[in-house]
Amino acid sequence: MSRTLYDLIGLAAGVAFILALKGLSHPKTARRGNLIGAFGATLATLVVFFYANPGSSLPLNHLGLILGAMAIGLLIGVPAARKVQMTQMPQLVALFNGVGGGAAALVAIVEYLHLGADATTAEVIFTVFTVIVGCVSFSGSVITFMKLQELMTTRPVIFPAGRFIIAATLVSVIGVGGWVVSALGTAPLLILAGLSLLFGVLFVLPVGGADVPIVISLLNAFTGLTVAASGYVLDSVLLIIAGTLVGASGTILTRKMAEAMGRSLFGTLFGAFTAKAQDATGAAEERPVKSGSPDDVAILLNYARRVVIVPGFGLAVAQAQHTVRELADLMISKGIDVAYGIHPVAGRMPGHMNVLLAEANVPYEQLLEMDEVNPTFGQTDVAIVIGANDVVNPAAQTTPGCPIYGMPILEVNHAANIIFLKRSMRPGFAGIENELLYDPKTMLLFGDAKASLTQVVSALKAL
């Protein structure tokens, strides 16, 4: 295959990626967009097997190993993608991003080992850049995965002199990076990779659980940039286009997410460094709360005219999406006006709750975005908060300095009655106490969300 044809097909794949991102921006075209992207990626991969790079010949060297490695990747990636529960989506995206960053770093390391005396300074710089950023993306993603999977604490991890250590690590990464650029050598490169991995860990540790999705999105953009840099070194227009697209769109997406959470991007990333470690536990545990039975809840609902359901991640953990739909249908059949109030970051990632409720076939029209539902809480008789906490916590509006201060919330505190379905008094993902739980108009129904909802449904049917 001629170089021109090879490049033209690469260009076609690049266009497919643009169309993919464009399609993914609108619900109607999203699925087709994703398929176009998959087509472009397949095309780009196939064509590599039919073009001999300068100084090489077809078939590719190590062809068997290459195909075998791809088969292993398929055998791991496809089942993981097929079997993952929708609730675990953020972790999987984090992991996929991490392995992508790791792949980019490995490619750059191999490239580096290959760079001869004739390598241009730009090539060396881009290669070293990819090693650094790819490693940061890899180790950072692993930490976000562990936080989301709750393999480690979801609270910001603040250690003494943390800021100093992080800054020192960054300075040494840059310093060693400069050394590796000026004096080609394998050992310095490995030290650089190690330091970069360490920096990725330190960079993500202080980020609180609720902010983790923003970091995943940012690391996603980082990985995109490493792919673009690899494209420069490997002389591949396709990699430059694809990587830059992901880098740019990832940056915008990161900013939009941060906006939805009412934070500046800078504050999210560096706010935690200055935050004090909090004592979320304390005297608050002893305060009285009003807890009710499923019958109490059913009675309250039976006499309501308007009910707003506020689903949170706890709902999905309990796999109660179908039960909540059953409850909503029952209330509608009794003439009650029912809506779902969806916070932009409900779940563990922006848009996550929409995916989870879509899975339970909840009609699209009943899902109200925050701006639509907030003005209606004043006319709402009952707000049912199921497995959510941070997104309805008035502290976001009233307590400057708390980690979620400034995040827009669903203002359930304006509803006449509030029902919280909770497993325990444990604070939410952000680790902050919620004053609303102690409000006189709040009733708590403790227990597994699915079991509780089932009991409420049968109690309501009996009325």
Partner: protein
């Protein structure tokens, strides 16, 4: 390729990247992140190229690992995004 041509491609791609996602609603943030994530799995192409011209066992081992990781990223990313979007479509009926 000339540095100028590459810089032009880069800058134009940045603007295209900004433009295509500027109007996305928060409903689609999760699939969009997942889809963009799958796209950078195309580093697989780079991994195959370096595997082809690996000379030592160390290089080959690293390149083969990169191929495995990149394949997981790319294929897994597209499959999982499709799974999410399939449900959104059923919803719109």
């Amino acid at each position: 390729m000339s540095a100028m041509a590459i810089l032009s491609i880069f800058v134009l791609a940045v603007f295209v990247g900004f433009e295509v996602v500027s109007k996305v609603s928060s409903t689609l943030h999760t699939p969009l992140m997942s889809g963009a994530n799958a796209i950078h799995g195309v580093i697989l192409v780079g991994a195959i190229i370096v595997a082809d011209h690996s000379e030592t066992n160390l290089e080959l081992g690293l390149a083969i690992t990169a191929i495995i990781l990149a394949t997981i990223n790319m294929v897994g990313g597209f499959v999982v995004t499709d799974r999410m979007l399939e449900m959104f479509k059923g919803n719109k009926k």
